[in-house]
Amino acid sequence: MSEYALLLPILIPLIGVVLLLLGARSLAVQRAGGVLFSSLTFAASLYLLFAVDQADYLVMQMGAWEAPFGISLVADRFSAVMVAVSSFMGAAVGIYALSEIDEARLKKFFFPLYLVLIFGVNGAFLTGDLFNLYVWFEVMLIASFVLMSMGGEKGELEGGLKYVCLNLLSSVMFLAGAGIIYGKTGTLNMADIGQQLMLAENADWALSSSMLLLVSFGLKAGMFPFFFWLPASYHTPPSAVSAVFAGLLTKVGVYALFRSYTLIFMPLFPEVQNILLWLAILTMVTGVLGAASHFDMRRILSFHIVSQIGYMVLGLAFMTPLALAAAIFYLVHHIIVKTNLFLVSGVVIRMKGSCDLAKVGGLCNSAPWLAALFFIPAFSLGGIPPLSGFWAKFALVKSGVEIHAWWAVTFALLVGVLTLYSMTKIWAEAFWKKQPEDVDTTPAKPVGPLVFMVAPIVVLSISTVVIGFFGEPLFEFSERAAAQLLDPQSYISAVLPQPAEVSP
C-alpha cells in the first residue's frame, strides 16, 4: 500500500487545483486552499520520503499496466528527497504568498497555478517514463510561464518572453531526443531504455539523442551556455514566484540530467564526462562573474543560481559515490537557501519598495532581525561554515580532490570566494550602508501581515543552520541515494518485471 505514497504528492496539488478553480470567487478560499494543499503535499512528501527510505524503491504502474507498457511512477531516494524538499519549499512559499500576492493576481488564479507548478515539479521527479517526463516538464513550464507573466508588468513580460521562447526551444529538443530514442529502442520506460543501452553491443547511436537531451535539460537547469533566459527573467515576478522558481525549476533540469546519465545513458557517460565537467566549470564561473557587476539583489541572486547549478553538475561529472552524494546534498541545501534568499528580497522590497542596492540601505539598523535572517542563507550560499553550504561545497571539493580533478577544484574554490563577495555586496549595501536619502523608498501597500512572510524565512533559516550543525543524517541519506544512482541495475530490477541480467 505504501505505493500510494507515490501518488499523493501529485494528486493532492491537482485536487487543490480543481477545488480552487471551483471556489474561484472567494479570495479567502484561494488563500486558504493554496496554503492547505501545498502543506498537505509537503506532509505527503515526507511520508513518501520515509516510505522510500524503508523500501529502497517504490514503483507504481499507472493503470495497472505493467512496465514497460504503461507509465511507471518510480521513487528512489534521490527522487524522494527532491520531492520532499521541493514540497517543503512549496508549503513555505505558499504561506509567504499570503502576504505578497495581491488581489489582482489571486483573481487570476495565482494559487491554482501555483499548485499546478508543484504538481508538475513533483511529477517530473517521480515519473519513470521519458515521454511522461516531457509532459511534466510542460506542466511545469506553462505554470511557470503564467506565474511569471500574470502581473502583466513590463519587466515581467520582457523577461517572460525570452523565458518562454528558450524553454520552448528546450522542450522541442527534448521531444526530438525522446522521439529518436523511441525510434531506436521502441520503449519509453527509462529503466527499459537504460537496460537496452546496457545490453546493446554498440550504443553509440544514442549519443546524439543524449546530446539533444543534454542541451534541453541543460537549458532548463540554467547551465552554460544555455542559461541566458534565467538572469533575464527570474528577478521580474513577485518574490514568492521568483523564490519558488529559483528553488525548484532549474533543479528539475539538474534532476533530469542526473537521471539521464545515471540511468538512461549510463553506458554513454564516459563519452560525455568531459563535456559535463567543462560545462559545469564554465557554468560556475560565468554565473558568478555575471553576478559580480550587478547591483540588484534579485539579479545577483539569479546569476548565482546559474553558478550554483555548476557545482551540482560538477558532482555528476565526477560520478563518484561521494561526488553524487555531495551533489544531492548540494541540491537540498541550495533549494532551501536560494528560495530563502529570494523570500528575503521580497521582504526588502516590502520595506523599501525596491531591492536595487543603489536605493536600499540601513536595514541592519532598522531591521536587525532581517539582517540575521539574510545573513544565514547568504553566508551559507557563500560556503561559510558551519552552515549547510559549507558542507555541500566541502564534500564536493573533497570528491574532486579524490579524483584529482584539479581544475574543477580550483574553480569551485575560486567561485566560492566570488560568491562570498556577492553576498557581502548585498550585505554591505542593503544592510550596512546608510539609507540613501535622495531616493523614494515608499513601499507598496502591503497585502497581508508581515508575519506570513517572515515565518517561512525563519523556518528555512533554521533548516539551514540545522543542516549545518546536524547534517550528518542528511549526508548519509545522500550517500545512500548516491549509491542507488550508481546502481542502475537495481533500479531496473525494481521497475521491470523481468529485467535482463546485465553484466556490469
Binding site: L113, E138, S149, C165, I180, M211, L420, A428, F475
Partner: protein, 777 residues
C-alpha cells in the same frame, strides 16, 4: 577533563548569544558581566595546565559529519594551552576595556555578539584537533572579523576595508581547504594528532609541494605575510578594542599558529623552511620600514604587528630548537605588550579625539595611569630589561648567532627589524606621553580614562614586567609545552632568564636599543616626508594590486555580461543552437558515423510534390511580410502535415492536427490588429548567418531521422499494446486507448497544461489592454 574544552567554548559562544539581551538589560555593565565568560574559560584552561606540563594532552571528541571524515575533536596541548590562555585572558581584558571604550554605544550588544563570537571562533581554532573543525573555526574568525572591522558600517571606507580583509583571507582559506583535503587524502585522516605522526608519509607524497603551498596560502593571508600584508593595516577601521584583540592575541596569530601546528608534519623540508623564513623576513623588514612613515597611532602599531608576524614566521622557518624557543617566547611577549599598547592607543584616541602622533605629546600629566601602562608596554616591546620582551629578543639573537653562511641574513634581518621596531614602540608608547604638552591642539580636552579602560593595559604591562623578572612562572608550565608541541617531540628542558652573561646576543641587544632610541629621536624627519613617500610607494604596493585585481574582476564581469547576457534573444538562440549543432556534429562524426540507408523507391511523384509544396509554404511562412500570407502558408503546412498523418494511417492525429492548426489561425486572427506589422529588422549578413546555422541544424535533424529509422527495432511494446487494446482495455482505437488508458497519465498532464494555458491567457488579457487605434475615444 576533556569536556572542559567544550565547556570553555560554550562559555564564550553562550556569552555571545546572550550579549544583546544582556546589554539591553544592564547597559554598559553588561560588558563587565560578559567578561566573566572569557575569564572563566581562562580559568578552566589554566586548571588543565598541570596535566599539559606533565606532557599529557587532553582530547575531546564527538562524531560530526563522520561520513565526510570529519569529527568534532578538540585537543589541549602545550601550543593550544598557550594560545588558549592568550585568547581568553587578553579577550577578557578586552571585553572589559570595550565596556568603557564603547560606553553608551547604541549597538553595544551587537558589538559584544560579534566580539565574543570571534573570541569563541579563535578559541575553537586553537583547540581543534581536526583540520576540518579547524577550518570551520578559521572561517568563523574571518566572518566575525569581517563584521567587526566593518562595525562602523555607515562609512564606506569601513565596509571596503572589511571586505578587503574578508576576501584576502577568504581566498587564502580556499587554498588552505584544498591543502587540507590533500593532506587528508594522503594521510587518510583529518585528525591533527594523527597527521602529526605522519610527517614522513606526507613529505614523501608527490603532492607534498601542493599541500605546503596551499596551506601556506591560508596561513600567509591570515597572518598578513608579504604580499598579503596590506589588509592588516586597513583592518584598523575596526573599533580599537577589536584592533587590540585582533593584533595581539588572535586573528593574525591564527596563521602563525597553523604553521606551528603543522610544523611537525610538514616542517623540516627545505621548501617549508625556506619559504617561511624568506617570506617572514621580507615581511618583517618591509613592515618596520613602512611603519617609520606612519603618523597614525594605530597604524604604527599595526605595522609593528606585521613585523612581528614576519619575525615569528621567519623563526618558524629557521626551525631550530632555539628558533622555536625564541618564537614562543616572542609570541607570548608580543601578545602581552601589543594588546596593552593598542588599548592605550585606544584610550588616548578616546580621550583626545585624535590618533595623530604629530599632535600627541605630554599627556602623562593628564593621563598618568594610561601613560604608565603605555610606558611599561613600550619598554617591554623595545626589548629592554627587565621586561619579558627582552627575554624574547635575547632568544632571537641566540637563535640567530647559531646560524652560519647565507643564513646569517636572517640574523641581520632580525637585528634590523628589532631596532626599527623599538623605534616604533617608543613612538607609540612613549611619544604621546612625554615632551611638551600640546593640549590646545587636541580635538578634545583629555583626562584620565575610566578604570575599565586602564585596568587591562596596566595589568598586561605589569605581567610583562613580572614575567621578565620571574620567567620561571611560565617556563615549564606554558612555554616549554608549547615548544614541545611545535617541535613535535617531548617537552624540552628550557631555561628563561634575563641575564645570560656578556655575549654576542647581549651586544646585539645593546646596539638594538641604541639604534632604536636614535631612530625614535629622528621620528620627526620621517613624518615630514611620510605623505609623499607613502604616495610614491602606493601604486606598486600590494594594496594597489588588490584593487587592480578587484576592479579587474568587476571589469571582467561587465565584459562577460556584455558578451553573453546581451539582452538580445537572437544571440541567445544563436548560441544555444550553435552549441547544439556542435555537440550533434561531434556525436555523429565520432560515434555512429554518417552512413544511413536511402531507399530511392520512396520518391514517388505525389509525395515529392506534396513535400515540395510544404517546403515552399514553410519558406513563405518564414519570409513573407504580410500576416495573411504567413497565416495562409502556415495553414498550408498544417494541411500538409495532416495529409502525411492520414497517409501513414493516423486519422486521429490528422483530425487533431487540422482542428488545432485552424484554431491557432483563428486565435491569430483575433489579435492580428494588435500585432505590429511584420518587418525585417536584421541585416542581410545576419540573415545569411542565421540561415546557415538554421539549415545546419535542420540538416542534422534530417540526418538523425534518417539514422534513427535506419535500424528497425522490434515493435514489442506497440504490438503488445495493440494486442491488449480490445481484449483488456475494451477499445478498438489503439491510439485512443493509449491516451485514456495505457498512458492516461500523459493525458492528465496534458489537460492540466491546456487548463493552465487558458488561465494564463485570460490573466494576460485581463491585465487591461488599451483600446487600439480603431477605437475612437
Amino acid at each position: 577533563m576533556p569536556v572542559s574544552l567544550l565547556i570553555s567554548l560554550l562559555f564564550i559562544f553562550g556569552a555571545a548569544l546572550v550579549a544583546p539581551s544582556l546589554c539591553r538589560l544592564f547597559k554598559d555593565k553588561g560588558g563587565c558581566l560578559l567578561s566573566l565568560a572569557p575569564f572563566a574559560a581562562f580559568g578552566l584552561l589554566l586548571s588543565q595546565s598541570g596535566a599539559i606540563a606533565a606532557g599529557e594532552s587532553i582530547r575531546y571528541h564527538i562524531e560530526w559529519f563522520s561520513s565526510l571524515g570529519c569529527a568534532f575533536s578538540l585537543r589541549l596541548d602545550g601550543l593550544a594551552l598557550l594560545m588558549g590562555l592568550l585568547v581568553t585572558g587578553i579577550g577578557g581584558l578586552i571585553v572589559l576595556y570595550a565596556s568603557g571604550y564603547m560606553h553608551g554605544h547604541p549597538r553595544l550588544g551587537r558589538f559584544y555578539l560579534y566580539l565574543l563570537s570571534f573570541m569563541g571562533a579563535m578559541l575553537g581554532l586553537v583547540l581543534s584537533d581536526n583540520l576540518i573543525v579547524l577550518f570551520v573555526f578559521w572561517e568563523l574568525t574571518s566572518i566575525t572579523s569581517y563584521l567587526l572591522i566593518g562595525f562602523n558600517h555607515e562609512e564606506k571606507i569601513s565596509r571596503w576595508k572589511a571586505l578587503m580583509a574578508l576576501l584576502t583571507t577568504g581566498l587564502g582559506a580556499m587554498a588552505m581547504l584544498a591543502g587540507f583535503l590533500i593532506i587528508g587524502q594522503v594521510s587518510g585522516s583529518y585528525e591533527l594528532s594523527e597527521i602529526n605522526g605522519m610527517g614522513d608519509l606526507l613529505q614523501g607524497s608527490p603532492f607534498y609541494t601542493a599541500m605546503v603551498l596551499l596551506v601556506l596560502g591560508g596561513a600567509f593571508t591570515k597572518s598578513a605575510q608579504v604580499p598579503f600584508h596590506f589588509w592588516l593595516p586597513n583592518a584598523m577601521a575596526a573599533p580599537t578594542p577589536v584592533s587590540a584583540y585582533l593584533h595581539s592575541a588572535t586573528m593574525v596569530k591564527a596563521g602563525v599558529f597553523l604553521l606551528a601546528r603543522l610544523n611537525p608534519s610538514l616542517g623540516g623540508m627545505p621548501l617549508w623552511e625556506n619559504t617561511l623564513a624568506i617570506f617572514g623576513s621580507v615581511t618583517l623588514l618591509l613592515a618596520v620600514v613602512l611603519g617609520l612613515f606612519q603618523k597614525d597611532l594605530k597604524a604604527i602599531l599595526a605595522y609593528t604587528t606585521l613585523g612581528v608576524l614576519g619575525l615569528l614566521t621567519m623563526l618558524l622557518g629557521i626551525g631550530t630548537e632555539y628558533a622555536i624557543k625564541a618564537m614562543v617566547g616572542f609570541l607570548l611577549g608580543h601578545a602581552l605588550y601589543k594588546a596593552a599598547l593598542f588599548m592605550v592607543a585606544g584610550s588616548v584616541d578616546h580621550e583626545t579625539g585624535t590618533r595623530d602622533v604629530t599632535l600627541l605629546r605630554g599627556l602623562r600629566r593628564l593621563m598618568p595611569i594610561t601613560a604608565m601602562a603605555g610606558g611599561l608596554a613600550a619598554l617591554s616591546m623595545s626589548g629592554l630589561p627587565p621586561f619579558f620582551g627582552f627575554i624574547g629578543k635575547e632568544l632571537i639573537y641566540k637563535a640567530g648567532v647559531k646560524l652560519g653562511g647565507l643564513e646569517l641574513y636572517f640574523l641581520v634581518a632580525a637585528f634590523v627589524g628589532n631596532f626599527l621596531m623599538m623605534a616604533l614602540a617608543l613612538k607609540a608608547g612613549i611619544g604621546p606621553f612625554f615632551g611638551k604638552e600640546n593640549n590646545d591642539a587636541l580635538p578634545k580636552k583629555p583626562h584620565e580614562a575610566p578604570v575599565t579602560m586602564w585596568i587591562g593595559p596596566v595589568l598586561l604591562g605589569v605581567i610583562g614586567l613580572v614575567l621578565g623578572l620571574l620567567p620561571f612562572l611560565v617556563t615549564d608550565s606554558i612555554v616549554a609545552p608549547a615548544i614541545g608541541s611545535i617541535l613535535g617531540g617531548a617537552i624540552p628542558e628550557i631555561k628563561l632568564a634575563l641575564w645570560h652573561g656578556f655575549n654576542l646576543p647581549l651586544l646585539l641587544s645593546v646596539f638594538t636599543v641604541a639604534g632604536g632610541f636614535g631612530l625614535f629621536m629622528l621620528r620627526g624627519k620621517f613624518w615630514a616626508v611620510a605623505d609623499p613617500v607613502r604616495a610614491a610607494i602606493r601604486p606598486w604596493g600590494a594594496e594597489a594590486m588588490y584593487e587592480r585585481i578587484f576592479n579587474g574582476t568587476i571589469w571582467l564581469s561587465k565584459a562577460q555580461t556584455r558578451c553573453l547576457q546581451t539582452g538580445r534573444l537572437h544571440d541567445y538562440v544563436f548560441m544555444i543552437v550553435a552549441v547544439t549543432v556542435g555537440f550533434l556534429i561531434w556525436a555523429i562524426v565520432n560515434y555512429g558515423g554518417l552512413q544511413f540507408e536511402m531507399d530511392w523507391a520512396q520518391f514517388d511523384p505525389i509525395k515529392v510534390g506534396l513535400v515540395l509544396i510544404m517546403i515552399v509554404a514553410t519558406i513563405v511562412a518564414v519570409t513573407a511580410s504580410a500576416y495573411m500570407t504567413v497565416l495562409v502558408a502556415l495553414g498550408t503546412v498544417g494541411f500538409g502535415v495532416a495529409l502525411i498523418f492520414v497517409y501513414y494511417g493516423a486519422p486521429d492525429l490528422a483530425i487533431t492536427q487540422l482542428l488545432v492548426e485552424t484554431l491557432t489561425v483563428v486565435l491569430f486572427m483575433f489579435v492580428i490588429l494588435r500585432l505590429p506589422p511584420l518587418k525585417s529588422m536584421s541585416s542581410m549578413a545576419t540573415k545569411i548567418r542565421d540561415a546557415i546555422l538554421a539549415s545546419t541544424f535542420g540538416g542534422l535533424m534530417t540526418l538523425l531521422v534518417l539514422k534513427a529509422v535506419n535500424i528497425q527495432f522490434d515493435h514489442a511494446i506497440s504490438e503488445k499494446l495493440a494486442a491488449m487494446s480490445y481484449p483488456e482495455a475494451k477499445g478498438k482505437n489503439v491510439v485512443n486507448v493509449i491516451l485514456v488508458d495505457f498512458r492516461a497519465l500523459d493525458t492528465l498532464g496534458e489537460i492540466v497544461v491546456v487548463a493552465a494555458a487558458a488561465l494564463g491567457i485570460a490573466a494576460l488579457v485581463a491585465t487591461g489592454f488599451k483600446k487600439k487605434k480603431g477605437a475612437a475615444s
